[in-house]
Amino acid sequence: MQEGVRKRILVTDDEEDAREFVRAVLEDDFDIITASNGEECLDMARREDPDLIILDVQMPVMGGIDVFVALKKDDQLHHIPVIMLTGVREKTGVGLSKEEMGDCFGEEPNDYLEKPLEPSLLYDVVCQCLGDRE
């Protein structure tokens, strides 16, 4: 990544350890801001206008899918790419697959990664998402 164009990523996960993991993987090349729940994520997204949101699916009160739907409905936030993370395998429980989310909500997240995270995969996917946007 080029100096001077550091992009800002909003990491939303209710677990601090998980947020720190993502931060450690990305912090060398990106600015990381974090939120620990869905509402905070929406607030920060409006305030900070991040270039990318990384969103955990399983969160109490407002789950990642609800946050995703709210982001996509919001004209101001609609354009921000989203990468979702889940500890549940796709198609089980809360886990809609990327395509199923597209079917349900008319919008697909840019990617959908499973926990435990593979650091290099996360890094590549993030770069790809941000590259797509340019």
Partner: protein, 540 residues
């Protein structure tokens, strides 16, 4: 079906009319199959037909009527032993082959070694409890027969467990039939092979060993293949079975075998036999056994279906549990991977803060895994509390001390208000520690990061033989629809933090102590868990 009508004549003599080809007409005219030169009998009085109900007598519009067992009938099924009267002529109805007559059952006399094997089809054995003459049973009275069917009915009503059903029926059968050995066999679902499911012998009161009994496969095969009830009074001399290996080896003197009919096919058999000459079986024993077989066939089938459903449900529950666990473990694993990634990065860059952070995350997640495993173990097996006299306050205090640092770190207040009058109580200290730990962890998690307060109190209400541990938080509260799901394994509202096991374990521990958990919660205001436990080990 064959049989005969035996006409009782004055002077004690009788005249026998075989019933071989149906219909059989009776009347005064010579064209009838059975001609009765009696003026009280009409020209064409009645006829006997055989249909799918069995043997039926039909009155053909006679002047004086046709009477079965004293009742005037237009058309009625007749059974073995019935009295049929046309005018002044009274017949004894015998509907099994003549040699099957009860008094003709051969004595087990060693000098004659009389062959006496009967095999009867279900139609020939259409018997109800009342159709069995108690006099014909070698081991029982009429009252006992009725009692038998009442008891059998109760076993059938209650039985959800196949083994219980079969051994109950077998025990009951032994009360009525003088058998030395008996067993119930069921066809294996895949191979169709008859396998012993329950067995007993008279000598040992209950012989649960399924291998223990070798039975006459020859007799069994005949009964299940042909679908007939088989009685053999001396199997060693029977034409059909005499040469058979299993009969000779075991020197069976008398054996009975009846098929168990399910809805569509024969699903098994009841087999009893006797090695002792003095124990002989009668036709009525066979009828009784047949009636048992008829009743339990369907019950066995139902029980098997029930079992299959239960197995499917259990598998589904196991599947759910495994999925729930998989989720928990993945999240912990994510923490550990993250910890080691940060640790590695710190080592590579020689940055102590990173090393420390990575290490903290690693060890925190390793203790989460340990907690999960402990909860799983506590949840998975029923266990009796290991009671000891302990200071209830110090158990709670230990938990509070453990969690104090964490609560403070998150900007939350954790307070303990012990009831100093509580003193020693008889509980399983380790279990209650675990229970309180889970409740307190939940309470802290429920609180907002700043301004959250968790209060733990112990209370010993006057004049009660219980004490309470009360955990109250001012956190997010529990939604009404979630309240009823509390304590359900793998149900969690904590997102990836929750295992869905902690509260289940707490509930389980309290219930093992014969205590109770009360929950009071208002969304947005907080939750109070009240654990009430007996002061002393409850008496059994």
């Amino acid at each position: 079906m064959q049989g005969r009508l035996v006409l009782q004549r004055p002077g004690g003599t009788s005249l026998s009319f075989p019933l071989v080809q149906f219909p059989v007409t009776l009347g005064r005219e010579a064209s009838n199959d059975i001609t009765l030169s009696d003026h009280s009998v009409s020209r064409r009085h009645a006829r006997i037909v055989s249909d799918d109900q069995g043997v039926v007598v039909e009155d053909l519009g006679s002047s004086n009527g046709t009477f079965l067992n004293g009742n005037k009938v237009a058309s009625s099924v007749v059974a073995d032993g019935d009295l049929l009267r046309l005018g002044n002529c009274t017949f004894n109805v015998e509907l099994v082959q003549p040699e099957v007559k009860r008094d003709e059952i051969p004595r087990m006399d060693s000098s004659t070694w009389d062959l006496s094997t009967h095999s009867l089809s279900p139609e020939e054995l259409e018997v109800e409890a009342t159709g069995i003459s108690a006099a014909g049973l070698t081991g029982a009275s009429t009252g006992a027969v009725l009692g038998f069917f009442q008891q059998a009915g109760r076993i059938l009503e209650r039985a959800f467990d196949l083994d219980e059903l079969l051994s109950g029926i077998l025990d009951l059968t032994f009360q009525m039939i003088p058998a030395d050995r008996g067993c119930i066999l069921l066809a294996d679902a895949t191979t169709g092979e008859m396998e012993i499911q329950a067995s007993r012998t008279r000598e040992e009161e209950a012989n649960d060993s399924l291998e223990g009994m070798q039975i006459s496969r020859t007799i069994l095969d005949y009964a299940t293949r042909e679908g007939r009830a088989v009685l053999t009074s001396d199997a060693t001399t029977d034409d059909r079975f005499g040469a058979a290996h299993s009969v000779i080896i075991q020197e069976i003197r008398g054996a009975m075998c009846v098929p168990l009919r399910g809805r569509e096919e024969i699903i098994g058999a009841i087999y009893v036999d006797s090695k002792i000459l003095s124990h002989k079986f009668s036709i009525d024993d066979l009828k009784l056994l047949f009636a048992v077989g008829a009743q339990i066939g369907i019950a066995v089938e139902n029980t098997r279906l029930y079992d299959a459903n239960l197995r499917a449900e259990r598998l589904a529950a196991v599947g759910q549990a495994v999925a729930g666990l998989g989720h928990c473990i993945k999240n912990i694993l994510n923490g550990m991977e993250g910890g080691s990634f940060i640790l590695q990065k710190g080592i590579d860059k020689q940055e102590e803060p990173s090393i420390r952070k990575g290490w903290d995350i690693l060890s925190r997640n390793s203790s989460r895994l340990k907690d999960l495993v402990l909860d799983m173990l506590a949840y998975s097996k029923p266990r009796e509390p290991i009671y000891e006299m302990v200071e209830a306050n110090s158990v709670v205090e230990d938990v509070v001390e453990l969690l104090q640092e964490r609560a403070n770190g998150e900007g939350k207040i954790l307070q303990f208000l012990p009831d100093e009058a509580l003193g020693e109580v008889e509980i399983d200290g380790k279990s209650i520690y675990r229970c309180v730990l889970n409740l307190l962890t939940n309470a802290i998690d429920a609180c907002p990061d700043q301004g959250g307060t968790v209060r733990v109190r112990t209370v010993r209400p006057d004049e009660e033989d219980r004490f309470q541990i009360i955990v109250a938080d001012n956190g997010c509260g529990i939604a009404e629809e979630d309240l009823e799901k509390l304590g359900r394994a793998f149900f969690s509202t904590k997102g990836s933090k929750g295992t869905g096991l902690g509260l289940s374990v707490s509930y389980k521990i309290v219930s093992e102590h014969k205590g109770e958990v009360l929950v009071h919660s208002k969304q947005g205001q907080g939750t109070t868990f009240t654990v009430a436990l007996p002061l002393q080990r409850p008496s059994e």
